[in-house]
């Protein structure tokens, strides 16, 4: 049970994030939902690499025979964080431009491109 707790948290986070993205009309809140979705995926990846009683995977700090957590997933998470920063920043800038030009950040009003 306790080992599955992070996965339950991942499921909850994905649920909350999807609800935010699908239901909120404010674009800033949608961007926040996307960031939360990204956080959920990051948590999922990090959890995959956890091993019972594992230590941080640092070569020079490792005692003989100690279990380490997997470093690969941490590298993946880090990369995803970097990508997430870029994505979020670009989305926020686009929202800023839209706010300047349309005077609103409401998704229902942001529909000059349709049909």
């Amino acid at each position: 049970m306790i080992a599955n707790l992070p996965f339950i948290a991942v499921a909850l986070l994905i649920g909350i994030a999807l609800a935010t993205i699908l239901l909120k009309k404010n674009m800033i809140k949608m961007v926040m939902g996307l960031a939360m979705l990204e956080g959920a995926v990051n948590l999922f990846l990090v959890t995959l690499g956890y091993r019972e009683n594992g230590i941080a995977p640092i070569f020079t700090n490792a005692p003989e025979g100690a279990d380490m957590v997997l470093p690969t997933v941490q590298a993946l998470t880090l990369t995803n964080i970097v990508i997430g920063v870029a994505t979020t920043a670009l989305m926020l800038v686009l929202v800023m431009v839209i706010y300047k030009k349309y005077g609103t950040v409401n998704a229902d009003k942001m529909r000059r491109l349709k049909e």
Partner: protein
Amino acid sequence: MIGDLLTGYGFWNPLVWVAVMATGLLVAWLIWRCGESDYDKGTEQTKPYLSGNDEPEKGAVHIRGGNMYWGFTHALKGYYDKLIPLHSGVVNDYLVWFLIGVIVIFVVVIMV
């Protein structure tokens, strides 16, 4: 032979097609040459005849894009009335469609 694209049933050879079309055009042109030229340039014959009316302004005779296929969209009105509102332009709806697609594909793959 060069240019033969086998399609399972038969083949398609664009080079032969081009040669046949070129021959056909050549023959047509030769037949057209044989006729006698029966109009004189610069006379009434070359002007458009619109039941005796004057030629309208240039902008007025061009059929604009929005007026074409009016009949087509009108005939399929029921279909278009359903389809066009789906493309609502609201980004939440786009993601709802993504979720629906995921669920439908999942159910299909699991069930079958």
